[in-house]
Amino acid sequence: MRGLDLRYFLRRIGMFFLVVFVAASFNFMIPRLAPGNPIGAITSRMANASAGIENGQAMFEAYRQRFGLDDPLYVQYAKYMWRTAHLDFGESLAAYPAEVSDIIRPAIGWSIGLIGLSVLITFALGVTIGALLAWKGTPRMVRAVLPITMIGGVLPYYLLAMLLLYVFAFNTHMLPMSGAYDSGIPAQLTGPYIGSVARHAALPALSIILTSVGAWALTMRGLMVNTIGEDYMLLADAKGLPRSRILWWYSVRNAIPPQLTHLGIAMGYVVSGAILVEIVFSYPGLGYQLYQAIVNSDYTVIQGITLILAVSVGLCVLIIDLIYPRLDPRVTYVSENSN
């Protein structure tokens, strides 16, 4: 590939594994650093409680064994990392003996669908609005209306979510208040089911889109302004190309790549925001599962989900980094030492 070398690839991939490693290490350390040794407190509480529960003793033993509390710290750490590398997050504490990964897996699909779709729509909208704001040929009317889209950007995702919930679901009953689909419809790829899923996703998606589109438009506008002064724009104009072609294929095309880096940086924030949006709408994704786990003090599930969140954001950033040189050939990623 042009302007790209192996070192760049290895660095990016190394960075991804570093992210996973650090996140997993946090997960290992936090319970052990917390005051009052919560693991000890949990196990002793469970030992007391388990006296009355069928299989309670087995559950308590499994938990104690899982944390390997009798091993020295470095052995615990190595074992923990080994299990995490194999995506083994252990058993849920609240729903023992259900595997944490079995609880998380269905939630991942809902979250990816909701967040992925919202981010794509936001990206398309933000790029378009920003481009039109910076473009001289935009009608004055349109230009006056566009900044309204930025109002939502001030609020955190979940605040707008609550307002939308109140207006569109509680007051007017236009859209459902919670969940991801109507329970009466069989979960197959039929028209009614897809319609139900779309109706349920509308408000959560809308709250993510409305709160983040303003920032996208603003940076896009800035990037567009930079391209407008370039020589190739003047040349395109002199060649007599149609104005719309100049706008989309000369100006926007050159302004978009930095937006992708911006997306990589914003990913963590988007995911954090989406966690809270899912909770507001009881949308059965990772955020809602996380909330349920917090309510139930289900520590293994909490840790599994936070790790999955870190890994998925790291993965998004990695993918963006890897496709970026293809989208912006002006940037070379040949390392400084190689020439």
């Binding site: 001030v154 955190p156 605040l159 509680f170 800035g222 963590g268 995911v271 917090i294």
Partner: protein, 304 residues
């Protein structure tokens, strides 16, 4: 006295220099209207809280202190919630608490970030490589995920502990900004001159580099406070913030938990949402107008 006049410089006049600084500050506020508007908005809200706390019967914020589920009336201007608390008392006590968390967290994050950024940018070497990679990694991991894990384990949290937890995770962004500026500054001529004239590293960092970072520090601080309040309120809304005192986010948590929305108790959830909207509008205005100082690449874009 005569020596200074001989050199042609005006003698030091403390009153005058105070006036100069004041003049500069006034000029800054006059030039950055949006920043000023943001500051005034936040100050007004904070004053409302601080004065309100003096006027109101603080006992009203305890659970069961007043009748449940009352709509706003003369006795309870914002009504009472489902836990028997006077909403006005809850709000005026909660506002300063939420501010306190944000400012403490922002301050902790900026101090740590500045230290790391200055030292890493000035000394370079393996320590710089380590901290830079670590900061990059921390910027990728969603802070809220770590905050939730920590807060889930540390169940008994006060305002100070919440601020500490949030602040300890707020350093990577300031560190990166300060480091890149320090990298550029250390090559500048005046730093080289200072080095040749025998200033040691500590003097160069504190006397030469730090004063040139004021704009970046201010922007980083506003950004960190903003992020701090955002993260803290996020935790509070999940019921993971301070447990012993009212905060804005926790009010929203209760309103949500006890389905104020479905029960039509608008006075329970509207005040915290309006308060948060004011806070985030103010912080947004401040950070947008400071962006042009901290992010030179935006200079051309915002002027046009």
């Amino acid at each position: 006295m005569s020596a200074t006049t001989l050199r042609g410089t005006t003698p030091f006049n403390p009153l005058r220099s105070v006036r100069d600084v004041l003049g500069q500050v006034v000029a800054f506020f006059a030039e950055n209207r949006m920043f000023t508007a943001g500051v005034l908005l936040l100050l007004a809200l904070l004053l409302f809280g601080l004065i309100g706390v003096q006027l109101v019967n603080q006992k009203g914020a305890d659970m069961g202190a007043v009748p449940l589920n009352q709509a706003p009336s003369a006795a309870h201007p914002l009504g009472t919630d489902g836990l028997g608390r006077d909403m006005f008392a809850v709000m005026v006590i909660g506002i300063p608490n939420t501010f306190k968390i944000g400012f403490l967290a922002g301050a902790i994050g900026v101090v740590i970030g500045t230290l790391i950024g200055l030292l890493a940018g000035y000394y370079r070497g393996p320590a710089d490589a380590f901290f830079s990679s670590f900061a990059d990694v921390m910027l990728v991991i969603p802070a809220l995920a770590i905050l939730i894990t920590i807060s889930a384990y540390v169940r008994v949290v006060t305002v100070e502990i919440t601020a500490l937890i949030v602040g300890l995770l707020a350093w990577p962004l300031p560190a990166r900004v300060i480091r890149s500026q320090t990298l550029a500054l250390r090559e500048r001529l005046f730093v080289q001159v200072a080095k040749l004239s025998g200033q040691n590293d500590f003097e160069i960092i504190t006397l030469q580099i730090l004063p040139n970072l004021t704009a970046y520090l201010a922007a980083s601080f506003v950004g960190a406070v903003s992020a701090g309040i955002l993260a803290a309120v996020g935790l509070e809304v999940l019921g993971l913030g301070p447990q012993n005192v009212p905060t804005i986010g926790r009010t929203l948590y209760y309103a949500f938990k006890y389905t104020a929305l479905l029960r039509g108790m608008w006075w329970w959830w509207v005040p915290p949402i309006v308060t948060l909207a004011i806070i985030f509008t103010g912080l947004f205005q401040m950070s947008i107008s400071l962006d042009k100082y901290a992010n030179p690449r935006l200079k051309g874009a915002t002027r046009n």
